[in-house]
């Protein structure tokens, strides 16, 4: 028996929360201390690349419509490209700060994927609300890597990125298969579970 979608989302939320805490820790201790153990430097790029691979699996095995298929595929591709570029940056193969723009593109595309494949309004159900909220959070968060490309030394960009990952984790934790949002649940959404 497969786990319900909400359970899969809570697992993803846990991975995001741990990643967010580690990224926040990087901001607190600074890049010199954080980079003393190589696995820590590779964590974020590897997570992006792995999530791209997992999203291809989601696109192939758990797709309900053509719109979902396209959204998941674009999202998977964007995550893999950003992960690969970040890996090259960590390895020292790419040095220019402008490469952060690839991560900005990934966040914008991921956010757009969330927004495009949710066809219902904000208060249709909790799931619809979360699609809109996560989508706009990711689109807005694209500003942080853009800022890093322009002013790489400012800590605010890394802090903003880490906080964004934690916010997405919190939003994912609030997911339920069918549940009201702020007291609203459309009659077309199904019965609350």
């Amino acid at each position: 028996m497969e786990p319900r979608p909400e359970i899969a989302h809570w697992w993803f939320a846990s991975i995001f929360l741990l990643l967010g805490l580690i990224l926040l820790a990087e901001v607190i201790v600074g890049p010199t201390v954080f980079g003393r153990r190589p696995w820590r430097r590779y964590l974020w790029p590897a997570t992006a690349l792995a999530s791209g691979v997992l999203l291809w699996l989601v696109a192939a095995l758990s797709t309900f419509s053509m719109l979902h298929l396209i959204a998941h595929s674009i999202w998977a591709q964007a995550a893999m490209i950003a992960g690969a570029v970040e890996l090259a940056v960590v390895r020292g193969l790419l040095r220019r700060p402008a490469w952060s723009l690839v991560t900005a593109g990934m966040l914008a595309v991921s956010g757009a994927s969330f927004l495009v494949h949710e066809q219902n309004g904000w208060l249709f159900s909790r799931s619809a609300f979360l699609h809109h909220a996560i989508g706009w959070v990711l689109v807005a968060a694209a500003l942080f890597p853009i800022g890093k490309a322009i002013r790489p030394r400012l800590a605010i960009w890394s802090t903003g990125f880490a906080v964004t990952v934690i916010v997405v984790a919190v939003l994912l934790y609030t997911d339920r298969d069918v549940a009201p949002i702020f007291g609203h649940l459309s009659e077309f959404a199904g019965e609350s579970k």
Partner: protein, 103 residues
Amino acid sequence: MNEFVGRLEERAENRITTKRARFVAIEALGPLTILAGVVWAIAQPYRLVFLRDTEKGLWDYLGQPPLLVVFVGLVFSLLIAPGLLEDMRRVENDDRKDDGTAS
């Protein structure tokens, strides 16, 4: 003591305070996350499978959000934070040695 020495001492004190704050922040991240999970479990006990009467499967036991938050906090506290604190101390010691060599 002239004004330059006073400023240097003030700067050194600020640096020590910042370092202490960083140590405290890294030590606090994990416990704060665990606390958030515990508070969530108290506020919404129906999020815990053990406290529900409905039919439960293996996946329900593996996906209990407040316990997952507590688990993440534990992982950070036990596996991530100690290494970061150790590296912070090492870098601090290296800096001290460099300062000693320079002076």
